[in-house]
Symmetry: C2
Subunit: 455 residues, 2 copies
């Protein structure tokens, strides 16, 4: 079946479902709709107008709606939850995976949260309350409490019986965690190992006791790195006494990875965070703080050039090359910055050594600086017929590129050392710093060699 | 058990293992080493000197070594595979997951690959050959052929027997794929569903037949997005006739996500790709092409300012604010570029509409431009006591920010439309373009209003 054919079929199916809703043919709609993967259900649901959505609420159970809601981004949920009956909404929240429900509640104000929890099923409410107080971006904030746990004393048969019972509610049943009588996490066994074991073997004999876990306060980025390195499908979360508190599953880890990648990227561009569904005012509000800081940094550069006003008065031609030199400094700084920030994020630099990186960057700056400097000297000589001006710009570019390349690497390393997230050292920030450095080098040299220029 | 205690224990264990190797106590080393997670085994192995590694090869089977090699980055493997006996190395490659073995072979030259395949076990060699010809970064290049497949006619009992037999070799057993007699992919069933089903039910009755699959030529980034959206642990890969060719598991998807994030990031900074273990020469070689292109773009800006040499001769003070204005244009352009590139990458912009984005960016530029322009007018007035100069710079900044903000969004959108990867529109590129725009606005206005400035 080819792609267009497939797409046509989807369009037809959507039309059938929409007609079924409009005609009130509940069974026909449910038969087709519930066959879909929850992600596709969510895609269909989101496209519908409000009056259709209101009908869908009456056709589906809270449990069925929960799966749809789990597949809609939390930032899109507010109008949806508001248009439902509060009791229905709270039932849905109760049926959702605890970690997903907590994500949704975290976007609401405290009064709303309290009122939802009050009308919610007691068990669900208490599970959610347990998770609500974990700090954002920690292991605790992304874990779920719906995991399968067995005791060391059980046999494989007992464990499988228990597993089958827990399967409908558990986030994953592919890893089963083993606790001792004090509820300490002592082992893990995969379903893969369970099904190839004899039924009367003891869990304690076949479980793996070299268990990898994370403390509940661990940073979510480090948790993601661990899951990726170890190829886990889930990772247990423990408190400081090694009690099992929850698990983090790989699907949530993928969301964390996407979130962190977007975050690194936006910080690099000096945008507070990625903007969604924003109007111009809120976008401007997010970007202005950065722009104003950079404006003041730029004023420093301007006042520095101001000191060389006499020099410019003597040779106006000098001004022509300011953006070129400042620009090249910014470009090379951005390049080495990206290498350094990414190297820190992936842990590559820890292993390789910082001194080695700085030496390499200095070498890279020397080579690129020499090449670009040589090139520009020739171009300006050919263009303006002024050899000394060419040489001045060329040598300035050479020194600027060396210093700017090293600056691009050293600033994030210093920040990392000072426990500041190095991704905050954005491209524009480095570019503006390097503007300053390049102007200092250029006009410093021009003032020293003024004699030669005036010839 | 607290963290420091845990780390101490690891150090002690490493020392015990190292001593065991040096004393030739094979059993003692194996007992401790094989208890570890393969990722930890790899970490230990990588830290050892060559003579220790050569001993380890004699202590472990190819199958055991394969798990270690799978946990070492392909770019670090060359010295390791070279120092082994070729037969041992080819045995290891044969024991590895097919997709991982293919990744390793793809880093070698054709002669090496051919010689490894010749001495390899026939079955493994033929599986690897099948995968070697898929294009890089497609679904085919990251899939594995070790999956579990059952027929529609089987019962749950048959399927479980088959599953237990296949478990040791399969990449995952948590999804079982169902094919019909023509080997077409017709369904999927999770192990979760299998173990809660009655043993004499037919697979065809309980399988899900709305199966999501990807064509073998699909871009790996799109595959990753799919796995993340649908929360799959694995995704089947099919040919154009819907024959099941392989599966892609979530652990490989996480690697793809990491790779793509690094790639977007490095393109944004105008670095060809992330450099690993490079010296200054090869780093310079990768960055120079970009820098030279930007140098020529910068020369355009310089020649543009050259046309205003008379203006500068009249008011040298004008030159002071060139880097400030050009810098602000670069900064705001980088911000809106990041929003646009990321929005295209995540598919957010497709949904929202491009015109809406451009209007919003223009609005954002107007607001930030007005704020920054107003601020700079006041600062220059207070600093230089020159109101018209302040106003000139302020108004230039305002117009520059509007144009630069829109340019930052429009250029990646155009590239996307022209099927060029918009991430190539790097920060430095936009910054250099915006240098040009800003200089044009600034000196254009200065020339027009020269009268007022000379007062």
């Amino acid at each position: 079946m080819d792609r267009t054919h497939e797409q046509e079929e989807i369009v037809q199916m959507w039309e059938r479902m929409e007609t079924a809703i409009q005609l009130g043919k509940i069974d026909q709609f449910r038969a087709e709709f519930l066959e879909l993967h929850p992600y596709d259900q969510a895609t269909f649901f989101k496209e519908q107008a409000k009056e259709i959505r209101l009908k869908i609420y009456t056709y589906l159970s809270p449990e069925e709606m929960a799966e749809i809601i789990e597949n809609i981004g939390v930032d899109e949920l507010d109008p949806i939850l508001t248009e439902m009956e509060p009791r229905f909404a709270s039932q849905i929240l109760g049926e959702m995976s605890t970690d997903d429900a907590v994500d949704v509640l975290n976007t609401m104000d405290q009064n709303e949260v309290a009122s939802f929890l009050t009308i919610m099923d007691k068990d669900a409410a208490s599970e959610i309350k347990d998770l609500l107080h974990y700090e954002e971006k920690t292991a605790g904030s992304i874990m779920t409490t719906e995991f399968v746990v067995v005791n060391t004393g059980m046999t494989v048969r007992d464990a499988m019986v228990h597993l089958r019972k827990e399967a409908p509610d558990a986030e994953t049943i592919y890893y089963v965690y083993v606790v001792n009588q004090e509820k300490h996490l002592v082992g893990v066994i995969s379903l893969r190992d369970l099904i190839i074991s004899e039924e009367d073997w003891f869990i304690s004999d076949i479980m793996s006791d070299r268990i990898v876990s994370v403390p509940v306060g661990e940073n979510q980025e480090d948790v993601a790195k661990m899951v990726r390195d170890y190829d886990f499908l889930a990772l247990p979360v423990v408190d400081f006494q090694n009690h099992l508190l929850g698990i983090i599953t790989v699907d949530d880890i993928m969301d964390v990875m996407e979130e962190e990648a977007s975050e690194d990227y936006s910080k690099f561009a000096a945008v507070a965070d990625m903007e969604k569904d924003l109007n111009a005012f809120s976008a401007a509000k997010k970007r202005l703080p950065w722009l104003i800081i950079l404006l003041f940094l730029g004023m420093l550069t301007a006042s520095l050039i101001g000191r060389f006003e006499d020099t410019i008065n003597q040779v106006a031609l000098l001004a022509v090359f300011i953006p070129l030199i400042a620009g090249m400094a910014g470009n090379t700084g951005t390049q080495s910055l990206a290498i350094a920030v990414r190297g820190i994020a992936t842990g590559e630099i820890e292993k390789e050594g910082k001194v080695k990186l700085l030496i390499r960057e200095a070498g890279t700056g020397l080579i690129t600086g020499t090449c670009c400097g040589f090139l520009i000297t020739i171009i300006i000589y050919l263009w303006k017929g002024h050899f000394f001006l060419g040489l001045l710009v060329g040598i300035s570019i050479m020194f600027t590129l060396i210093v700017a390349t090293v600056a691009g690497a050293i600033i994030p390393l210093l920040m990392h050392k000072m426990k500041v997230d190095p991704a905050v050292a954005s491209g524009p920030f480095i570019t503006t710093i390097n503007d300053l450095i390049s102007v200092l080098i250029y006009f410093g040299m021009a003032t020293i060699f003024m004699e030669l220029l005036l010839h």
